[in-house]
Symmetry: C2
Subunit: 112 residues, 2 copies
DNA sequence: TTGGAATAGTACGCAATGCGTAATAGCACA
DNA sequence: TGTGCTATTACGCATTGCGTACTATTCCAA
């Protein structure tokens, strides 16, 4: 029984957004495919293309990242993303919430 | 604009399951309403009744918790839940995955 | 020249779940 | 009788991760 696979997908909901924003802040501007590759190196298949691209699209729609098609030899091929001020703010607040959840779980298991 | 509310709901996906299992392991057997109250004390409205009860139902269906109607004066009113061996195993593995995600985010933001 | 990787992005649709809202029912207390 | 607390259940929506597949460009080797 693979009771575990579907649950993992649920656990990642919301977190991928933070991971992408964090990558854009620390690794500078990146294009979609580059983000996917960075995530691959981070661990066991955190998010593939079919997860990352929709995330980027939504982040852009929400004004958390800026997107622009590459120029010169990249024209029509690479779309570059960079984090905005609102994106940084969201990342900070989101990280804090994520930390809180993580701490809450640790606190429960602490006394046993 | 409340861009933040809906996202928080997504972030909690999967985590509530771990929180409930952790509560059952450290605070012993509990009934649904008691779990909701414990979660309320843990922080800012982590999960209400309409979240916890479906979670318990699913955990029971998956064999991660045992459920039995209370006896005596609790008959027909309280349903008591306790964690199973499979539940403990799932909690351990799930916590590990959660820690990994948390660590991954920290690792990205670390070098900036 | 041709063909197959690798690079880069897009589109479609399913399944799972948090959560708002509300209904039901027993009990206590005034 | 009626108000409020305890306790569980039911319905339905919105969001999102992800499998699968398709298109297009670049580059290297046969």
């Amino acid at each position: 029984m693979d009771l575990y696979g579907p649950w993992l997908a649920q656990l990642r909901k919301g977190v991928v957004e933070l991971l992408v924003l964090a990558l854009l802040r620390s690794r500078g501007p990146l294009h979609g495919y580059g983000i996917v590759q960075e995530l691959e190196e981070l661990g066991d298949l955190i998010a593939g293309v079919s997860t990352v691209y929709p995330v980027l699209k939504r982040l852009e729609a929400d004004g958390l990242v800026d997107a622009s098609w590459g120029a010169g030899d990249e024209a029509g091929r690479r779309k570059n993303y960079s984090i905005t001020g609102a994106g940084k703010k969201f990342l900070d607040e989101g990280t804090r919430q994520f930390d809180d959840l993580h701490a809450a779980l640790g606190r429960i298991g602490g006394n046993r």
